[in-house]
């Protein structure tokens, strides 16, 4: 039965319907709800993004019993799972989607009423809430057969995934990544390498097959290509005026996070790069009247993307770069398909969140110069402590050492209860006045 419904509902009807919707969407941009007198119309590729994400969750809906499913953290080494043919799901991305659909409050409350603290990450609360209530905007999440938590983004995932393991009674693989203060030591690389090798063994058992090393190499190649293209797309933001804003980046980053290592993802980013370059040739800017250019630090405020984009664009402020979207572009030179496991160890040891606050400061300084930026907005994200710690000092040093105005903006990536609209906009207005926009 499940094989039949997977074939009919996902492989045939679902895929066809989603393709038809993409064709319809790509012909008509009239569905744009954002104020196009301030902001460029949505990128044409939006229709494809929507198809990819919808298909991803549609597959998840019917995949149980067809393919083994792995739930993984956003910074987990995913390539061996893809190569083993597992269906990979990212609870963090799911929670972000819940954020854009504004259902996090309800889901969080469900988790909180079971004793999960409100001080816990809102992604964790939203997903645990979805688990407890069975409610999700994507219809249904597939039950995992394997859990993979990599601590390179935070320590919360360790406890969060233990909760999942207890709930689903499935194997949990933890990949522990030592914090990097300067450079990754050979011992750290070796330590992570051994853990990935052990993870492969566990995943092979779950998949019921041996990992094909040629497939892993190919997956890594595709992963690297997507990451390189994503980096190219982001770097076009250096053009003045910028053809792409971080709000575009936030929307179109999903495939590089959750579909790395797939052929279509590479094609998708090649098309996105083409479109962005076309915008440059046509002199089209993401913010119609770009006067000041700003850097965004930390995760997006998923439930207020549009309001923030419009408010800033109305004053001619374009946020053209972000340390967050950049994180997925940073690792390409470490990916080496000829040494798959060792290079995975290096890649997944190196995310911005697994490195010191000084590293982030130097990265921001570099971005300020490379992207010709006039200011920095540091989103102090109540949920993401590892990303937010150090921001008070970083703000002070950016101002003092580069003379770049910087603003600390207190909010939360997914929980709207930690967002005070009036106060946030009042600060942004003051910041705009200070920038002279």
């Amino acid at each position: 039965m499940s094989v039949l419904s997977y074939i009919v509902s996902y492989s045939i009807a679902g895929k066809l319907l989603l393709r038809a919707r993409r064709l319809r969407d790509s012909r008509s941009l009239s569905r744009a709800r954002w104020d196009t007198s301030l902001i460029a119309p949505p990128l044409k590729i939006s229709a494809w993004t929507k198809e990819l994400i919808s298909r991803h969750y549609l597959k998840g809906r019917y995949v149980e019993g067809i393919k083994p499913v792995a739930w993984v953290t956003s910074g987990a080494p995913v390539e061996f799972l893809t190569a083993l043919g597992l269906c990979v799901l990212y609870p963090e991305n799911h929670a972000a989607l819940c954020g854009t659909r504004r259902v996090v409050e309800e889901l969080s409350e469900a988790a909180e009423s079971k004793g999960y603290s409100r001080d816990l990450c809102s992604y964790a609360r939203a997903d645990i809430g979805a688990l407890l209530t069975g409610k999700t905007p994507v219809g249904k999440l597939p039950r995992p057969d394997l859990l993979v938590a990599c601590t390179n983004i935070c320590q919360t995932v360790l406890y969060w995934y233990r909760v999942l393991a207890e709930h689903f009674r499935v194997p949990l693989v933890v990949i522990d990544t030592p914090f990097i203060y300067e450079e990754a030591t050979p011992q750290a690389v070796e330590y992570v390498k051994i853990q990935i090798e052990q993870a492969i063994t566990t995943a092979e058992k779950v998949a019921g097959r041996k990992l094909s090393w040629s497939r892993l190499t190919r997956t890594l190649e595709l992963s690297r290509e997507a990451v390189v293209l994503w980096g190219e797309v982001l770097s076009r933001g250096r053009h003045v005026p910028s053809p792409i804003s971080v709000f575009d980046q936030f929307i179109h980053m999903a495939p590089v996070v959750e579909m790395r290592g797939e052929e279509e993802t590479v094609r998708f980013y090649r098309a996105l790069l083409d479109e962005v370059e076309q915008r440059i040739r046509k002199g089209m800017s993401a913010v119609r009247n770009e006067k000041k250019r700003v850097l965004w630090d930390n995760l997006p405020i998923w439930y207020r993307l549009r309001a923030l984009a419009e408010r800033l664009a109305a004053r001619g402020i374009a946020i053209v770069a972000s340390t967050y979207t950049n994180a997925w572009a940073q690792l390409s030179d470490l990916m080496d398909p000829s040494r798959p496991v060792e290079s995975m160890a290096r890649v997944y040891l190196s995310p911005i969140l697994n490195r010191g606050a000084g590293y982030k400061l130097s990265l921001m300084k570099e971005m300020v110069r490379e992207y010709s930026l006039n200011g920095v907005i540091l989103h102090s994200d109540r949920s993401c402590k590892p990303y937010s710690i150090g921001q008070v000092d970083q703000r002070k040093l950016l101002t003092r050492e580069l003379g770049v105005p910087a603003l600390l903006l207190e909010a939360d990536h997914a929980d709207p209860r930690s967002f005070s609209e009036e106060q946030v906009f009042s600060r942004l207005d003051s910041f705009a006045e200070m920038l002279g926009a």
Binding site: K396, T399, P405, Q423, S426, R427, S430, E433, M434
Partner: protein, 256 residues
């Protein structure tokens, strides 16, 4: 007064509405301060009408403060940050660090040449560190907010209020009273707690002297005294600190 150039600045704060009519030579020709009414638009219209009658019909209005959007007559909105910096510079003529303790938030602003804003931080997530903290305590102590400042300035006795939360500080007051602690030393302790909170925020900026204080709470002598102690610097206060923001708004009005 007709024929001269004028501008109106109106600062609609959470506690009080402040209006200033300023003449072309940057002198305050008229001002009004009232507690904020829930019907802000009507209140602002009435105050603006009265000011315009004194000056002439075509006086531009610049609105600032949390209720600025509700001022129908405004030609322009400017945030409190810019207005306070400009107003303080107008009165004091100094670059430096401006602290504004308002009814529901507090701000620290690095003021540059001509009253421009070089940097700022705001506390708006929590009532501790704002005028609300003292208002709340005053109710519990059965004192007026005005009395509180003089009591705090008039004593050297002080108890430490350890809670940084407005609500918990109130419980702390209750237990201090129950232990027989003197009211003046509680009051001074409360002022210290508020100032420490604001100074901690100020230290996230580079505190360049002089330190200036504006906003309604600046009239409080206890705050003035303790702030000076805590930052180790002299504190300058504009002539009428409560209307600093409105004056800044009016000056923006003269630009246009």
């Amino acid at each position: 007064m007709r024929g001269e150039k004028f501008a109106i600045g109106i600062d609609v704060g959470s506690t009080a509405v402040k209006l200033v009519l300023i003449s072309g030579d940057r002198k305050v020709a008229h001002f009004a301060v009232e507690p904020t009414d829930p019907r802000i638009s009507e209140q602002a219209s009435r105050l603006i009408r009265e000011a315009r009658e004194k000056a002439g019909e075509e006086v531009p209005v610049v609105a600032t403060g949390y209720g600025r959007k509700l001022v129908r007559e405004k030609a322009r909105e400017v945030t409190e940050i810019s207005c306070h910096a400009r107003g303080a510079f107008h009165f004091l003529g100094r670059e430096g660090t401006l602290i504004d303790i308002g009814g529901q938030d507090s701000k620290v602003i690095s003021v540059g040449e001509g009253g421009t804003v070089l940097d700022f931080v705001m506390n708006d997530k929590c009532a501790a560190g704002t005028g609300k903290f003292l208002e709340n305590a005053a109710v519990r102590l059965r004192l007026s907010v005005e009395e509180m400042g003089d009591i705090a300035a008039g004593t050297r006795e002080e108890v430490s209020i350890s809670s940084t939360c407005t609500v918990f500080a109130e419980s702390e007051i209750v237990s201090l009273i129950a232990q027989g602690t003197d009211v003046p030393s509680i009051v001074r302790g409360l002022h210290r707690a508020l100032v420490k909170r604001v100074v901690a925020m100020a230290r996230t900026l580079t505190v360049a002297p002089p330190v200036m204080l504006s906003g309604g709470v600046a009239k409080n002598r206890g705050i003035q005294q303790i702030l000076s102690e805590e930052v180790g610097l002299e504190v300058l206060i504009p002539e009428d600190p409560q209307i600093t923001g409105a004056v800044g708004a009016a000056l923006f009005g003269l630009d246009t």
